[in-house]
Amino acid sequence: MSDAIRLEGISKQLGEREILRNLSFTAKQGDIFGYLGPNGAGKTTTIRILLGLLKPNSGKATILGEDVSRDEARRKVGFVLENDGLYDNKTAEENLWYYARIYGMAKPAERIDRILNLVELRDRAKDKVGTYSKGMRQRLALARAMTHNSELLVLDEPTAGVDPSGQIEVREVILNMAYREGKTIFLSSHNLGEVQRICNRIALIDRGEIKLYGELEQLQREMSGNEVEIETTEAISEPLFAELKSLSPLGLRDRKDRVLTFVPQEGVRIPDIVSLLVRQGVEIEGVSKKEASLEEIYSAILKEVEPS
């Protein structure tokens, strides 16, 4: 798959402050790319560079093969910025018409109607945006991002300040855009749960540097430490626990009620552990390979980079 976003050695300085340092990563077409980092890490600056709002001091950024400094690149991208940027004195429809005309769309009526339907705002289309709730505004901002049918959507914290039910609605719209409309999505967010639920690839930025980057599932496996959890029908006896613990290649770490946690050494396969337990008369209810949650990964990485 070709690259939707490509950043190579991007650095940005504002005044004395170095905001981004040698930033490089790639988002593939079809990705839902999560861009994470604490406040002030450089997420918004990265997005502003991608949208041609700021010029990098060095490095190269492309969107779907176009240099971000070219107007053509911005035709290929829809966006939701941190401030939704909607006009309060215009209706939802007028806001979308305005942007459709800026993008040079000849007959946008049908498209606007379809998108308002997708974000479930068709019945409020004639209302002034100033009367909308935060969740509705964010859905309308997402609709605006899709108006000109761009292949890539850049979303800067689209659920920030939105109540939980609004967050679910916004998330559904994002998933619809990704799977029904086939869009590539670049999602900057503080909400780790949200990113874990919907993203397939992530980058973690802190103090202007990428600290972690890759496919989420792979990172979760790598960061889990190869932990295996085996759930038994009954809690195992103390002598059996001691015996299993003494078999060091199994790497039995922990026992919580009916759940045994193993970190097997190299060469020891999960079926080997299961058959050993069965031979010991233990009935197995379930086996799962533990994956580190995004929250665990996030805290581990940020703890690593904290100055001592």
Binding site: L14, I19, N39, G40, A41, G42, K43, T44, T45, R48, L51, G52, L53, L54, K55, D71, E72, R74, R75, F79, L81, E82, N83, D84, G85, L86, Y87, D88, N89, Y98, Y99, R101, I102, Y103, G104, R144, G208
Partner: protein, 253 residues
């Protein structure tokens, strides 16, 4: 400049539907009616003293000069001071300007669109107000006395073309400042230069009134417009999306 007409049309719509427009329309309506009624009354009072045409001509030129210079100047200045910077300040603070700049629109297209959106309604209102006053003066005073309409060509040229050109240069300068710095700076510049121009017209009218009806005065206006235009053109080098974003309210990282 693709997309500029869209910004222009949207901003004109916003101005026409704003409360500021209503206030400006009332103020200008009062000024226009005041001038259309007051100036002919004053003129008739002078003419009633039995002046012959040769004696009355300078007087008519003075009144006409003041009317065709002051009315458009006041109208354009009132419109500019009300509309020029406040909408930009709000767009910068609340975020629409950032979204606008993230589209294929160039910073220059946004600048020219916003400048024209302020200028065009102001120009049309100024034109109507000036024509009403000229017509009232001619119909109520000049035509009955001289038997023909009076509107010296240099005055018409200055009033309908050069003064608006000067004001457009001032608006575009104010809009540049509003975009790349704090909009208050843009507003201060517009008000300072606007008040200065009103003072100049007042001083010229009071001391060297004959100058108002001359081509020299038209040339001074042209020179003023050219000077402000050149300053605006020079400052265009500083107009970039980055400057606009960084001078807007919002976090940097």
């Amino acid at each position: 400049m693709k997309g500029m007409p869209v910004v222009l049309q949207s901003d004109v719509g916003d101005i026409l539907h704003s409360r500021g427009f209503l206030i400006v329309a009332i103020i200008i309506g009062v000024i226009t009616v005041g001038a259309a009624v007051g100036v002919p009354i004053a003129l008739n009072w002078w003419l009633a003293t039995g002046l012959v045409w040769e004696e009355a001509k300078p007087l008519l030129e003075l009144f006409m000069g003041l009317a065709v210079n002051y009315v458009p100047l006041i109208v354009l200045f009132t419109c500019m001071a009300t509309w020029a910077t406040d909408p930009i300040a709000k767009e910068k603070a609340k975020g629409p300007i950032e979204s606008l700049l993230a589209t294929p629109l160039t910073a220059r297209a946004v600048w020219i669109g916003k400048s024209l959106a302020i200028f065009l309604p102001a120009y049309i209102i100024g034109l109507i107000a000036t024509l009403i006053v000229i017509l009232a003066m001619n119909l109520a005073s000049i035509l009955p006395t001289t038997g023909h309409f009076v509107l010296p060509l240099p005055e018409a040229f200055t009033s309908f073309l050069l003064l608006p050109l000067l004001m457009f240069a001032l608006i575009s300068l104010g809009v540049i400042f509003s975009l790349i710095t704090n909009p208050v700076i843009g507003q201060t510049i517009i008000i300072f230069v606007g008040v200065l121009l009103l003072q100049v017209v007042g001083q010229v009218g009071g001391r060297i009134w004959w100058l108002l009806a001359s081509w020299d005065y038209a040339l001074y206006n042209l020179a003023g417009a050219a000077l402000l235009g050149m300053i605006a053109f020079y400052l265009l080098r500083s107009l970039s999306k980055e400057k606009i974003i960084l001078s807007s309210k919002g976090k940097w990282a």
